[in-house]
């Protein structure tokens, strides 16, 4: 069953003014439950805007978007942002509980379980300021998983981290995802990262249209050192280079 269905979605900023600019155009795709879908594309192609529309922070100009939960009720969403977005004046555990529906024992133990999974069980009483950037982002990831979301949105969550920390967190994310099998929509500009993590990659082109929808059929867990992963990464990168070249030619002709 599709958790997320998007049909002919478009977004124009500053509608009806001379500054009007269309950032998403005729976007249609659906995401089935339990799959990991990445959205890649060059800067300014509307990746983050699409994620904000799915999350409800941003409104779309036209088209349809629907979210369903497995239980049939309103879908619960988790969001991992580029930066951790933690309340600096609340402890790690209180940040975990801030986004939860209730304060029951089951919810508290679930929050503790995910903190443990990201290796921060001992830091539950720390303030975010007492943690490193990577540790704060791990809290953000644990928080998102702990709400047991029907759909988990991730917006370039490792882009602000150093390469070694990002690599460790990607491996950790794969492990948590393998256990939880949540439906994930992951935005990144890093094709290598997308191939390592995803079942499917949706490529957006400048102007906010879907250029290609690629299925990644590789066994998990995947590591960048695996030659089959590396080969596929090179192939997808090649397709993106072709897309960029075509976009440049099209804009030169225009």
């Amino acid at each position: 069953m599709a958790v997320l269905t998007i049909k002919n979605l478009a977004k124009t900023f500053n509608v009806g003014t001379p500054k009007a600019s269309r950032v998403l155009d005729d976007i249609s795709f659906d995401v089935r439950g339990g799959t990991f879908v990445s959205i890649v594309g060059p800067s300014g192609c509307g990746k983050s805007t699409l994620l904000n529309i799915i999350s409800g922070v941003e409104e779309h100009t036209s088209g349809d978007i629907s979210l369903t939960s497995d239980a049939g009720g309103p879908a619960r969403m988790g969001y991992v942002f580029q930066d951790p977005r933690l309340l600096p004046w609340r402890s790690v555990m209180k940040n975990m509980m801030y986004v939860q529906d209730d304060r029951s024992e089951a919810t508290v133990s679930r929050a503790k379980k995910y903190l443990d999974m990201v290796g921060l069980a001992k830091n539950a009483d720390f303030f975010p300021g007492q943690l490193s950037g990577g540790m704060q982002q791990r809290v953000g990831i644990a928080r998102a998983f702990a709400v047991e979301p029907d759909l988990l949105l991730m917006d370039e969550p490792f882009s602000h981290l150093d390469a070694i920390t990002a690599r460790g967190l990607r491996a950790q994310l794969q492990d948590i995802w393998a256990q939880s099998k949540k439906t994930v929509v992951f935005v990144t500009h890093d094709v290598v990262e997308a191939v390592e993590l995803s079942d499917r990659i949706i490529v957006l082109q400048p102007g906010g249209r879907i250029y290609e929808d690629i299925t990644i059929d590789l066994p998990r867990p995947r590591r960048q050192t695996d030659p089959t992963v590396a080969t596929l990464q090179a192939e997808v990168l090649g397709r993106l280079e072709t897309m960029k070249a075509m976009s440049r030619t099209a804009s030169a002709v225009a």
């Binding site: 904000n52 999350s55 409800g56 922070v57 969403m77 988790g78 969001y79 942002f81 930066d83 977005r85 309340l87 600096p88 004046w89 609340r90 209180k94 801030y98 986004v99 720390f126 303030f127 300021g129 007492q130 943690l131 490193s132 709400v147 949105l153």
Partner: protein, 275 residues
């Protein structure tokens, strides 16, 4: 041709510099020393003024008058009465001011509704409020309480509204995404984010509010510090008048230093936490 360079003297570390500075020099250049110096300067200025002008009571006279008031049994009753009125007025201003400030900060409609009345209230001085409340409520407790409330509440509102508008957009978006209920957003996001503004607002409320309570007691009678200060003023005994003013100002300074300042530091202890 070769050149020889003179050896560069190694720069001293902060630990070495700290060790090299004598203890007396550290004490003289501390914040505490600056505060003591300010108090001493004021005291010397006061003594000089009282020596130059007969109508300025000196410290000795003020202390004597205060001791007289204590021996007459006037201090505790009147001071307690003023504190009660002042405390109720400021507490009301804090509660109402935070509520209206949060509404003005969160809602465009709320801001449009409250903006003009708050601006008008800000421009009305305490003396006008004290006249009005004495006319409206007579000579009881209500006039000073309402005067304190009316003079201080606009400052709390303005500070809190400004703080709420400055709450991080990223954190608000995060709360929207996770559908965090409004009551929890206010408790865990908005109020802690505006603690500094609330503290500044309440400090203003206290500083402005005490003008209000003393003026209302001055004109409205019915006991209290303001009433007693006026009693000495009417008797043309400025030492007694100054004794009451010094007593109340001293209390406000101690309240700010030992209660408000500590409460603010406790509220901001998360800022001191760093990796």
């Amino acid at each position: 041709m070769s050149t020889t360079m003179a050896p560069v003297k190694a720069r001293r570390s902060t630990t070495e510099k700290d060790k090299a500075t004598p203890a007396w020099q550290k004490r003289l250049t501390s914040d505490r020393a600056a505060r003591v110096a300010a108090l001493l300067s004021f005291f010397v200025f006061w003594v000089l003024m009282s020596a130059l002008f007969a109508r300025v009571p000196g410290p000795v006279e003020v202390v004597q008058r205060l001791a007289d008031e204590f021996s007459r049994g006037e201090v505790f009753g009147n001071f307690g009465l003023t504190l009660y009125r002042f405390g109720v007025g400021v507490a009301l201003a804090a509660v109402v001011g935070i509520a209206i400030g949060v509404i003005m900060g969160l809602s465009q409609l709320g801001r449009a509704f409250f903006e003009s009345p708050v601006l008008v209230a800000l421009s009305i001085p305490a003396i006008i409020w004290s006249f009005l409340t004495v006319m409206w409520f007579g000579f009881g407790d209500l006039s000073p309480i309402i005067t304190t409330f009316l003079t201080s509440v606009p400052f709390v509102i303005v500070n809190v509204a400004q703080g709420v508008r400055g709450v991080s957009r990223d954190l608000r978006d995060m709360s929207t995404t996770y559908k965090v209920p409004l009551s929890r957003r206010i408790k865990d996001l908005v109020l802690p984010a505006v603690t500094g503004y609330v503290a500044a607002g309440i400090r203003f409320a206290i500083i402005i509010g005490w003008n209000g309570v003393l003026l209302a007691e001055w004109f409205g009678g019915g006991g209290g510090v303001g009433y007693r200060a006026r009693w000495w003023y009417d008797a043309n005994r400025f030492g007694g008048f100054a004794a009451w003013v010094v007593l109340f100002v001293g209390f406000i300074v101690l309240l700010d230093r030992f209660v408000l300042d500590r409460a603010i530091r406790r509220a901001f202890r998360w800022r001191d936490a760093s990796a």
